[in-house]
């Protein structure tokens, strides 16, 4: 399908030269505009890639703004960008949470700093402030634009359990880190990274963002979509192809297991914390005791200091757990929910096709029109399926790497903890036995 082509050639963006084509038309109620992807030159690192074209009207979204062209959907079976920092051209940090108080509400904004060498960005550095709502908006837009891609999860809106105050420091810090992860995952995603809304999110000033948000389908039409989605996704399950059945099974099982692991890991943290709290009291008792024991002062003080040092090591271990393991596991808990949503959306797209096919067999409406519609829907389904398949492989690869690192790091933390404690006690023992030998030899004199 040759159509308008706004080629935005960029050099050295991927491992290989890649002219990219992109085109977009104004949004609106599903008017046709063509998006294209070109075959990209292969690098030896890259595997086969999906090539397809689609009709924008087949995507039940209209996520692009009339102002800027939407980036093309080029699918590459991706190596993790994270592994190749030299190829990264978009660096995002989320920091400096700040509290804002208005008459209506109190909320937190985060500073987003973006550094980039990409051509389509007006500048090479941007600094904006965003609040959680803005992140929600971005995620919503991405889900609309790419219903069968695996969008990174956002941290929860709020955590009911154990929350005393909405904005306590730990909560904010955890959220900040998760938001940082969220944006970077998008940046590393071969398709999402070129999304226009993403760009706006990163670069627009507050008022610009507000007006940008107001464009696009209204709230009502989006709600209508949701209702339709729920209704039809059930039908889509019946005709799900085999590979997606497998995928779904995996997702269900994975979700179950990762949730359990999340619970276990949180529990371990809690137990370690309580252990630490008790240990803090343990050492000082020995010091107290040494006050009434002349001959045991050294030994008692030695034991006390060992316990205190092990106590510190425990604290460090806890910190390691909460940084290396807990956030990773929790992100995948959220991912698993995300995946189920993706599955539903895929099913729903399929359901649309199926219902039209059914209508055709039942001769409900004009055969000709139906056939044409069916043709388009078939393409749409194929696109959606392929997008999901490719992204699925990428996601699985990432998941394996992330889980592997997280647990390996945790094991490393534990080894380090025990090594520290071992050294402490061994040196105490040496000092005691040395003293003992000294005393013995003194006695014999």
């Amino acid at each position: 399908m040759d159509g308008e082509r706004a080629s935005e050639a960029r050099s050295a963006e991927l491992a290989g030269e890649s002219p990219r084509g992109g085109a977009a038309g104004p949004g609106g109620s599903g008017s046709s505009s063509l998006l294209q992807a070109d075959v990209l030159d292969l690098d030896e690192d890259e595997d086969d890639l999906e090539v397809f074209s689609k009709d924008a009207s087949l995507m039940d979204m209209s996520s692009f703004s009339p102002m800027m062209p939407t980036s093309p959907l080029s699918m590459i079976n991706q190596i993790k960008f994270e592994d190749e920092p030299d190829l990264k051209d978009l660096f995002i940090t989320v920091d400096e949470p700040e509290s804002h108080v208005t008459t209506i509400e109190t909320f937190i904004t985060y500073r987003i700093v973006t550094k980039t060498s990409r051509g389509e960005f007006d500048s090479s550095e941007f600094e904006v402030r965003r609040r959680y709502q803005d992140f929600l908006w971005l995620k919503g837009k991405l889900e609309e634009a790419y219903p069968t891609l695996i969008i990174p999860p956002l941290p929860e809106k709020f955590i009911v359990k154990g929350m005393v105050e909405r904005f306590n420091d730990d909560f904010i810090e955890t959220r900040r880190k998760a938001l940082h992860k969220f944006l970077n995952r998008i940046a590393d995603h071969p398709t999402l990274t070129f999304n226009e809304d993403f760009k706006v999110f990163l670069t627009a000033q507050a008022w610009e963002l507000s007006s940008h948000k107001k464009q696009g389908p209204g709230l009502l039409s989006r709600m209508g979509q949701t209702v339709r989605a729920v209704a039809s996704s059930m039908r889509g399950v019946k005709n799900r192809p085999e590979e997606f059945m497998e995928m779904n099974n995996f997702i269900e099982m994975f979700s179950q297991k990762i949730n359990l692991i999340d619970k276990i890991s949180q529990r371990i943290y809690k137990e370690e914390r309580e252990y630490f709290d008790e240990m803090k009291e343990y050492g000082p008792i020995h010091i107290l005791w040494s006050a009434s024991e002349e001959d045991l002062v050294d030994t008692l003080k030695g034991v006390a200091s060992c316990i205190d040092r092990c106590c510190k090591a425990t604290e460090k271990r806890m910190t390691g757990l909460s940084e290396a393991l807990l956030p990773v596991i929790h992100e995948y808990v959220l991912y698993s929910e995300m995946l189920m949503g993706v599955m539903k959306r895929r099913d729903q797209i399929q359901a649309e096709l199926d219902s039209k096919v059914e209508a055709l067999t039942n001769k409900k409406a004009d055969a000709g029109l139906l056939t044409e519609e069916i043709g388009k829907l078939e393409d749409k389904v194929e696109c959606a399926n392929n997008a999901l398949k490719a992204d699925w492989e990428r996601w699985k690869q990432n998941m394996q790497n992330d889980i592997k690192s997280a647990f390996t790091d945790t094991a490393e933390e534990n080894i380090h903890y025990y090594e520290q404690c071992l050294a402490t006690w061994e040196s105490f023992l040496t000092s005691q036995t040395d003293l003992h030998l000294e005393e013995d030899s003194e006695d014999k004199l």
Partner: protein, 450 residues
């Protein structure tokens, strides 16, 4: 002339580090057969009687525990645990041990023995018994006296008690103790026949003395203070240790859940599956390793508990001193007042109020004969009193000397034992760390192969 020389005394101390569980801890003890009754009220240490003394190497062990049912004093059915005490004599020459005695005793009989020793050896820091009921439990340990773990630890504690008594230079020669080891039937009657319960100082008397004594030996006052501190600090330590143990148990056991979940998860993973599965196995190993670790720690806690209970034994010696001192002070006071009375009668002056004086005033003067008679009585009483005071003084000084000697012995024993216990604690921690390193290193390898 005093007790056995220090070096053999050293070897008399049972080393608490060795697994006390093993039957047959060898103790070099001097066992003598006393012909006279075992009543010794704070007398000197020299008890060797020429023709009946021999040095025998004996092994004492509490080797078994058995649940029994029987009828108690009020003829009600009850369940109790009986412990088998075996005594072996070891031939000096070839080191072979021959079982000489074996009998069953229950906890209450141990208590009886100890109470007897407390009465007849008030100047000795009498070794304590293991706790009657399980205290300082953390959640895993049952507080039930019939729980096999508790019974096992009590068995060890009772053996330790017997070894301590057998290695004490004074207590080991006691006949009742000897009979405890050798005479199963009738032993209770024999003990009761000594009438020791009657000889025991009443608690009330002791309390009274503690409050009213004016000039106790400062060392005993300090010792009392020390024993209070010891008791308080060890209790505190044991309480916190129990809580720490509880938490540690939690940390280890929760990791066990990983094992199960990893295993289930590995079923759906192609590449990660093997790594997950084997890592899960290591998590199981980690989780179960805590059981042994904490059991060892329990033995350490028992060593500390012994000294917790020793604090009470120390206080008992101090109380006896206060009682004797108070007795002495009262006798001296009595004597002084009698002397004064006598003097007043003799000189005819009444300086102090006395009932006799009042009645004389009210009912008329005494005759000279009456006064003479009274003076004579008083002089006799004074004489007696002075004798008594002299002997009380002597007794008191003997007591202080002997008690302090035993206290010094105890202090040495305590320092050595506690130091060893603390070192053994360090060794336990080291072992725990080494296990931890191994398990997590294995797990890490599995994870990195995923």
């Amino acid at each position: 002339m005093e007790q056995a020389d220090p070096s053999s005394q050293r070897s008399l101390q049972p080393a608490p580090l060795e697994p006390l569980g093993g039957p047959g801890a060898v103790v070099e003890a001097s066992v003598s057969e006393e012909t006279a009754g075992a009543g010794r009220e704070g007398s000197g240490v020299d008890m060797m009687t020429e023709n009946t003394f021999w040095l025998k190497k004996i092994e004492i062990s509490v080797s078994e525990a058995e649940k029994r049912t029987g009828r108690n004093a009020v003829n009600m059915q009850e369940t109790y645990t009986a412990y088998l005490i075996e005594t072996r004599s070891v031939e000096h020459t070839d080191g072979q041990s021959v079982l000489t005695d074996s009998l069953w005793r229950r906890y209450s009989e141990f208590e009886l023995l100890r109470n007897y020793l407390l009465v007849y050896y008030p100047h000795v820091v009498v070794p304590p018994l293991p706790e009657k009921r399980a205290e300082f439990v953390w959640h895993k340990l049952s507080a039930d006296n019939m729980d096999p773990d508790f019974v096992e630890r009590r068995r060890i504690g009772l053996e330790n008690f017997l070894l301590r008594v057998a290695s004490h230079p004074i207590l080991c020669r006691d006949k009742i103790f000897y009979l405890f080891l050798t005479q199963e039937g009738n032993w209770k009657e024999t003990v009761n026949e000594t009438g020791f319960q009657l000889k025991a100082d009443s608690r009330l008397k002791a309390l009274n003395a503690t409050f009213r004594v004016k000039n106790p030996d400062k060392r005993f006052t300090e010792l009392k203070h020390y024993s209070d501190e010891l008791q308080s600090v060890i209790s505190h330590l044991l309480r916190v240790r129990a809580r720490v143990a509880d938490r540690l148990y939690g940390v280890y056991k929760v990791h066990g859940n990983y094992g199960r979940v990893f295993s289930e998860w590995s079923a759906i993973e192609k590449e990660m599956g093997d790594g997950l599965q084997s890592a899960g196995h290591h998590m199981d190993v980690y989780a179960s390793s805590i059981d042994d670790i904490l059991e060892d720690e329990e033995h350490y806690a028992d060593q500390l508990k012994e000294y917790l209970f020793y604090a009470e034994a120390l206080r008992a010696v101090c109380r006896k001193h206060e009682l004797m001192q108070y007795d002495l002070e009262t006798a001296a006071q009595d004597l002084a007042s009698k002397k004064q009375q006598c003097e007043e009668l003799a000189t005819g002056t009444v300086r102090t109020f006395s009932l006799k004086g009042m009645t004389t005033k009210l009912f008329g003067q005494e005759t000279a004969e009456q006064r003479e008679a009274r003076i004579k009585v008083l002089e006799e009483q004074i004489n007696e009193g002075e004798q008594q005071l002299k002997s009380k003084n002597l007794e008191g000084r003997e007591f202080v000397k002997n008690a302090w000697a035993d206290i010094e012995r105890f202090k040495e024993q305590k320092n050595q034992d506690l130091k060893e216990a603390l070192i053994s604690y360090a060794i336990m921690q080291i072992s725990m760390c080494k296990k931890g390193i191994q398990v997590w290193t294995n797990a890490k390898e599995c994870f990195s192969k995923m």
